[in-house]
């Protein structure tokens, strides 16, 4: 359904400024009714990728095709109809909702823009339907975003995305700003809606446990590149790339934590931060932080290898 090939997104470069390559040759696919996870630290380019897919930022190279149409070449009019089929849910629901627009106003605006000529009664009915769908009472339509809790706001964000009945929803860290108990409610809601409406998800997160719960296929990104792609089940049993391994061991897990108390921690703690994407790192881009680094990693860029069927890793030693 969604096919991304060698996508590159870059910023800067004007007036002698260094070029920042946020997304650097990513190939990715989302099938119908599938949930695909995109994982990585802040600054690895996962949000830039999402924004490029819906044309919120310009694409510097590569192809994005949706249902066979090239997204990068859509005209204004085509783009509007494309956006009825692809929608986004953002991380910070307070920041992504207009504070001066009531919830009903916000949802009905979407309905009116995409169905010109729709009557007021029909809009109100649709708004009530949407609120009901995400588990909110229809009387909330008159309230403003600040009157809601974080979890309820995220429900509104989901309702807004679903207002145009899209087939693909790109969720950019939809639960990372929420409490664990509310996080589960939102994740379960998203799962239920997926079944009901046969949605596809491109689910972006930095918490691998959350992605494991939601997705069938996972792409791990580092510095603008995909370093591992794998079916979810296999990735968690045996990560192929050292970066995935480190990410996995960083996730706080009750069972693992209790075990670590008994036998001592085997956690891999990555040193330092994600390097700036303006730097050019020779060899494997992950080598300065890698716990398995060897001489070859400093010199040669590792090839993309098929580890087993449908599993790829970009590492000399996987």
């Amino acid at each position: 359904m969604l096919k991304i090939k060698d996508l590159t997104v870059q910023f800067g470069g004007e007036g002698g400024k260094p070029v920042l390559r946020a997304v650097d040759g990513v190939t990715l696919e989302v099938g119908e009714g599938q949930s695909v996870g995109l994982v990585g630290e802040s600054g690895c380019g996962k949000s830039s990728l999402a924004n490029a897919v819906v044309r919120l930022v310009p694409v510097a190279g590569g192809q994005v095709s949706f249902d066979g149409n090239d997204v990068t070449r859509l005209s204004r009019k085509e783009l509007k109809s494309f956006r009825t089929r692809v929608q986004m849910i953002f991380q910070d629901p307070l920041g992504s909702l207009n504070p001066r627009l009531s919830v009903g106003g916000c949802l009905s605006e979407v309905c009116r823009v995409h169905n010109p000529g729709i009557g007021k009664a029909a809009v109100d009915q649709r708004v009530a339907e949407l609120l009901d769908m995400v588990g909110l009472e229809s009387l909330y339509a008159n309230r403003y975003p600040h009157e809601f809790s974080g979890g309820q706001r995220q429900r509104i964000g989901i309702a807004r995305a679903l207002a145009v009945s899209p087939t693909l929803v790109i969720a950019d860290e939809p639960v990372s700003a929420l409490d664990v108990s509310v996080q589960v409610q939102i994740l379960n809601l998203m799962k239920d809606l997926q079944k009901k409406m046969n949605l596809s998800y491109l689910f972006i997160a930095h918490d691998l446990a959350v992605v494991r719960y939601m997705c069938e296929r996972i792409y791990v990104m580092y510095l603008g590149k995909v370093v591992e792609e794998s079916p979810a089940a296999e990735l968690f049993v045996k990560p192929a790339h050292p970066y995935t391994e480190a990410l996995l061991s960083a996730v706080p897990d009750v069972e693992k934590g209790l075990k670590n108390r008994e036998v001592g921690s085997d956690r891999i703690v990555l040193g330092g931060d994600v390097p700036s994407a303006t730097e050019r790192i020779p060899g494997c881009p992950f080598h300065p932080r890698c716990h398995k680094v060897q001489e070859i990693c400093r010199e040669k860029v590792p090839p993309r290898k098929e580890v087993s069927e449908g599993r790829f890793s970009v590492c000399h030693f996987s």
């Binding site: 664990v180 108990s181 996080q183 446990a209 494991r212 996730v251 706080p252 934590g257 921690s265 703690v269």
Partner: protein, 375 residues
């Protein structure tokens, strides 16, 4: 089978370490005196010297207000301390003079807050911000050298250069390290970390947690860790208190509480964390907690958790349960025997956890506590 003990006589004997901080019956109110809203209602706990103590609960359960109270930082008169005492090293914080409080804050009790980007002043260089605390509280050292030492201690590379950076020039993890360096400037006895990693990536979170727990050991300070994620608690804390609606609903050793939660709320929090191991993630449905934290102005009459509780009975709707020490029968007998034996001889017997069944100071606020894995 549960046997109810009175907290006063038995459970306190079991907790035998000397306490740095002892909070008793703390009650913090907001709003008018006629119709006050209780954010913290009768919270009691103690933090032993040199340990990591966790306070867990959802947003709005009163854990941050509790944390702020420890150095009397809740803005007054908007908020007021209606009852209780906070004994820090034998002194009641709530009765301290303003000048004594100024000494206490930063020097003896230091804070690390959730969002480093808003906690740091954007218009001053980070070095100057760390130095400020040293200049205020310590005349004995060169502020600059000490700042460099602290920045090295928290793992900031190239400290002499980094001192000149403004907060926005640092990443979130670096900013949090600066916050920790500031907090450590006067070697506090108690470090209060209020959701120190919530705003950070998992990898950076792991770095910061590792740093906090190594510093805790190295400097032998006590750490009060506030979080909503029980996964973090399992990793670093020794004891855990779970809060709900301004009350403590369960407390005990981390190992005991997480392995066999007795309160349905603790169980719910545990179930809400997506797991890394076990059955394939997408096949099982996570059971979280329905609903949300109640408005502190409109609490239910009985157990405060009752409206969201799967196991609620009639009694829960009417009578609010007490925070009690509840130990199952067989274990209770073992405890008693251990205690009787030690009364005749040395007390060291009690201090050492002899078996994993021993549940030191395990308290729960529930009429029908869960019996661990079999319930």
């Amino acid at each position: 089978m549960w046997k109810v003990l009175k907290i006063q006589d038995d459970c306190e004997i079991l907790g035998v370490m000397s306490d740095l901080l002892e909070v008793k019956g703390l009650k913090v109110q907001f709003g008018s005196s006629k119709d006050p809203v209780c954010a913290v209602d009768g919270v009691s706990f103690s933090v032993p010297d040199g340990s990591t103590f966790a306070l867990v609960g959802e947003s709005g359960c009163g854990k941050s207000v509790t944390a702020l109270s420890l150095a009397r930082l809740v803005p007054e008169p908007a908020g007021s301390y209606a009852a209780g005492s906070i004994m820090f090293n034998g002194e009641n914080v709530l009765e301290m003079s303003n000048s004594r409080l100024r000494e206490l804050r930063g020097r003896e009790i230091a804070y690390v807050f959730q969002d480093p980007s808003t906690a740091l002043n954007p218009v001053f260089r980070v070095g100057a911000q760390i130095m400020e605390a040293i200049q205020l509280h310590r005349k004995d050292v060169s502020a600059r050298d000490e700042t460099i030492r602290l920045m090295t201690l928290v793992g900031l590379p190239d400290p002499a250069e980094r001192m000149k950076a403004y907060p926005h020039e640092l990443s979130g993890g670096m900013q949090q390290r600066v916050m920790i360096a500031m907090a450590l400037a006067c070697s506090p006895k108690l470090l209060v970390a209020d959701e120190p990693t919530t705003a950070l990536d998992v990898t950076i979170q792991a770095q910061i947690l590792e740093l906090l727990s190594s510093l805790q050991k190295k400097l032998n300070m006590s750490v009060l860790l506030i979080t909503h994620n029980l996964g973090l608690v399992a990793d670093v804390a020794h004891t855990v208190n779970v809060m709900y609606a301004g009350r403590i609903v369960e407390s005990g050793q981390v190992r005991d509480v997480l392995a066999a939660p007795a309160h349905p709320y603790t169980r719910g929090l545990l179930d809400a964390v997506p797991k890394l191991s076990g059955i394939d993630g997408s096949d099982v449905r996570l059971e979280g907690i329905d609903g949300f934290v109640p408005n502190p102005a409109e609490l239910p009459p009985g157990c405060k958790f009752e409206p969201r509780c799967k196991y609620a009975q009639d009694k829960c709707r009417e009578v609010e349960p007490e925070l009690e020490c509840r130990i199952s029968n067989a274990e209770y007998r073992m405890e008693r025997e251990g205690l009787v034996g030690s009364e005749g001889g040395s007390t060291t017997n009690v201090q050492q956890p002899t078996s994993s069944n021993q549940e030191e100071g395990r308290l729960v606020r529930c009429h029908y506590p869960l019996g661990g894995s079999d319930a």
